[in-house]
Symmetry: none
Subunit: 227 residues, 2 copies
DNA sequence: CAGATTCATCACAAAATCATCACAAAATAG
DNA sequence: CTATTTTGTGATGATTTTGTGATGAATCTG
């Protein structure tokens, strides 16, 4: 359900495991790295949404990893360190660190801090377009509002995301599988005909403009104005 | 293009410098001061549009500088401090602070918050409303009073701030996380569902107008009059 | 310091949404 | 025209999200 992937970097397997257990209990998915080198490699491959990075590690230390990652990404990073360790640096100013956690830490605090960092960073993401128009439809991603003939209509989250995707890519046909991949996500395991039901719901809410969503027989659906 | 001048006050040159670099990259012009005395002097001379003020400084500390500046100006001020430092004061009510940032912080976060403060303050200049109306509701920010159908209702501080925020941004949906960021502050560590409880309380106090606060299922809440 | 108020969190109830199924309707192939 | 495949749609139970009362901690007040 929660799609947030977190990369845990620590040389001690035991610590990694404890963190992993608590994060997964909260619905995060995790990835592990036991040193700086592996961390950089895994970071590039799996593109995590957040990184928990131990300061003290053999070979490449946490600060170096931090700087390398910062050269190319502003992914949220939480530094992990033993209490007392490099105290000045911890509470001084280190570029690009989003928060610190000192060992030992309570799971509750760790989760709270992770959630706070995610909350903050997601807030700074730019919203792409101000308004998406198509025929009598106007989608306003910023406020998550949808207007049909200048009247607001209520859509459920899935309906909204599906409509958004179709409008953004109007005039293009998508198979049910493509829609599942793009709207539901790649890890959705289920019946492709689920799409049909949501298309039905959308058409119902588009009322007299229901023909905006067209069936391409044997292939899938597309969004298209007029005709 | 951007004419906004920002005064950076911190005793550590390294910190000043990092902040300076990021601000100038964003098109702000900057001025520096390394202690409270110099800060006051430079403030009077160069009339900055915003001040970033470190709490811990030798000679005159940040709070004192804040008070002195507030005697003659309402320029936006963002306080800077290490986490844990003067914890109570940070979370207490300190007059005239527009925002505070705890170290460590990411540059992205800093920029975002500076822009938010500027946006807010310029907003007040233009609007400077004595009364905020929405349907049967009237909020009077100056006296912190709220009237519903011309009858005063009592709100707790949190309820008031939440309602204020929602009314100011009516017709826009906010997720629980956004509400936490904007009403509770970036430093709040806690359950997002706390928002629900306050929404409930507000609805109760809005009585027959409870539908002003609408649930957008799967997303969050919005304030909207009528319908 | 006692009593009241406010606040955050929890647990459970209520509501909305979602995925799936079964069958009807429509389109296509032969 | 008939059989077959594909799509439309209503119903249903499971899942997810939200509503809400209770509770104890923290804070304010007098």
């Amino acid at each position: 359900m929660n799609n947030t992937k977190i990369l845990i970097v620590d040389d001690e397997a035991k610590i990694r495991n404890v963190i992993k257990i608590y994060l997964e209990k909260e619905g995060f998915s995790t990835e592990e790295a036991c040193d700086g080198e592996e961390a950089l490699k895994k970071f590039n491959v799996s593109k995590p949404s957040l990184i928990i990075l131990d300061v003290m590690m053999p070979k490449i230390d946490g600060w170096t990893v931090l700087r390398k990652i910062r050269e190319e990404s502003s992914v949220p990073i939480i530094m992990l360190s033993a209490r007392g360790e490099e105290y000045d640096k911890l509470f001084g100013f280190e570029l690009g660190v989003d928060d610190y956690i000192t060992k030992p830490f309570s799971p509750k605090e760790m989760i709270a801090r992770i959630k706070a960092v995610i909350r903050r960073s997601s807030c700074f993401e730019n919203v792409s377009t101000d308004v998406l128009k198509a025929g009598a439809l106007s989608l306003m991603p910023k406020s998550r509002q949808v207007f049909l003939d200048n009247e607001e209509i209520n859509l459920t989250p899935k309906e909204y995301e599906l409509l958004c995707f179709l409008v953004k890519n109007q005039n293009t046909v998508f198979s049910r599988e493509q829609l599942l991949n793009n709207v539901w996500g790649y890890n959705f395991l289920g019946d492709a005909r689920t799409v049909d039901t949501h298309i039905k719901q959308l058409r119902e809410k588009l009322r007299k403009h229901k023909k905006y969503i067209q069936t391409v027989w044997g292939t899938g659906y597309k969004f298209k104005v007029e005709k």
